[in-house]
């Protein structure tokens, strides 16, 4: 079994609940040993499935029908994490052959670390450009996306209008 880096699903402080339920299903119900890829990725998909279920509750109560945008959006996040784990694993292995140790984090100021972070920011932005409409568009069509100008921005616009 390949040993993927970053396989341990980090505990989102807010979603501690869902992480706990993910551990329950992976380690207690399915009996996958802790620390293995099977356990980590089962937890990952369970957490995002449950997150979709929570948002499904809100969508259902408003739409009065089964809508799956939340599930699709949530499970796509798990797929993206699986994909990026694989890419990070392959990239690290490849760079190690070239003598470059990649540890993109706050303490890594090497050129490789900086490049990795810039690539990461671009990837995350483009990922959400693709998946955000899946989550938001149905709600926007219902009227949940109404965005009137907020007071500070309105004040700035009015002030600018008086000057101009």
């Amino acid at each position: 079994m390949p040993c993927f880096p970053l396989i341990c699903w980090s505990e989102n402080p807010v979603d501690q609940t869902l992480v706990g339920l993910g551990r329950l299903i992976a380690n207690e119900f399915l009996k996958f040993p802790r620390g293995t890829n099977r356990s980590s990725y089962t937890q990952l998909y369970v957490v995002f499935f449950l997150s979709g279920l929570v948002h499904f509750g809100g969508d259902f109560i408003v739409e009065r029908r089964m809508v799956y945008g939340s599930f699709k959006f949530s499970l796509l996040q798990a797929v993206a994490i699986t994909f990026e784990d694989l890419v990070i694993y392959i990239t690290k292995r490849s760079l190690r052959w070239g003598g470059i140790e990649l540890k993109p984090g706050r303490d890594d100021e090497s050129w490789a670390g900086v490049v990795a972070r810039i690539v990461g920011y671009c990837w995350v932005t483009l990922w959400f450009c693709w998946t955000l409409p899946i989550r938001l568009d149905e709600l926007s069509a219902l009227g949940l996306g109404i965005t009137d100008r907020k007071p500070i921005a309105q004040f700035l616009v009015d002030t600018w209008g008086q000057w101009a």
Partner: protein, 256 residues
């Protein structure tokens, strides 16, 4: 006229809190849980959608997330209620002989009620033995005055950021159904914007939403600590650093 079901939602909230009363009698919890499930179904199936769509939507999400939290507390970690202990109880327990009188099921009735209220709204488990260690933003130092000053500054910063970011989305057909024909489908909203031109919308929506929830957290922390009801160390930031948002895993695991 459409009526918002405040009474049903309030009764559900009371049931939710009561289920977490630290008694070892499981029959008590089963009965209340059955009542909560019945009431939740009534709310989901019969709630009239009010003009306050965002409120209605948040009721649906909140009920579902409360069931998740109950499942976590009752099933996921250890036996309820004695598995769940506050750090301050733990410290006191060590000072006493054996400490078993500090287990939640052995607390006095008044303390049980406070314990019940405390755990019902401790989704982040801060101040509990079960608090996650490796991913929480750092706990603030205990100085009340410093905390209040820093929190006020953060509140102002987050409020301004949220206001400006969300205002950049104002009156755009990518989000606002008032600018669409009623027959328009959902694919005519953000998905209709060319891919690379979605970048400013995506950034504004993400940063604006993160700043909004952080501002609410700052306001709550300011009031609770300012009134002397809470310790500053129990109020670490809600969100992590945006600088860490360079993988999808990190953005969901640390930043948001």
């Amino acid at each position: 006229m459409r009526r918002y079901p405040w009474a049903e939602v309030l009764v559900f909230e009371i049931l939710y809190i009561s289920i977490l009363y630290p008694t070892p009698h499981h029959a008590y919890r089963v009965v209340l849980l059955a009542a909560a499930v019945y009431l939740a179904m009534q709310i989901y199936l019969n709630l009239e959608v009010t003009d306050q769509l965002a409120t209605t939507h948040s009721v649906g999400c909140a009920i579902a997330s409360k069931f998740m939290f109950m499942a976590y507390l009752l099933l996921a970690e250890g036996s309820f209620p004695d598995h769940w202990r506050r750090v301050r109880d733990e410290v006191n327990a060590k000072a006493g002989a054996g400490g078993s009188d500090k287990l939640p099921s052995n607390l006095s009735s008044a303390k049980k009620l406070w314990w019940m209220l405390d755990i019902a709204y401790s989704v982040r488990m801060i101040g509990w033995v079960q608090e996650p260690r490796d991913c929480m933003p750092p706990h603030p130092p205990p100085s009340r005055r410093t905390f209040l000053w820093k929190t006020l500054l953060k509140f102002i910063m987050n409020t301004v950021t949220a206001d400006l970011m969300i205002s950049t989305l104002a009156l755009t057909p990518s989000f606002d159904h008032r600018l669409h024909d009623p027959a328009d489908g959902s694919e005519t909203y953000l998905a209709a914007v060319p891919f690379f031109r979605r970048i400013p919308y995506t950034l504004a929506w993400g940063i604006g939403t993160g700043a909004s929830i952080s501002a609410m957290h700052n306001a709550l922390a300011f009031v609770c600590v300012g009134l002397g009801q809470s310790n500053p160390t129990l109020w670490p930031d809600l969100c992590g650093r945006w600088g860490d948002a360079y993988t999808v895993r990190k953005i969901w695991g640390y930043v948001l």
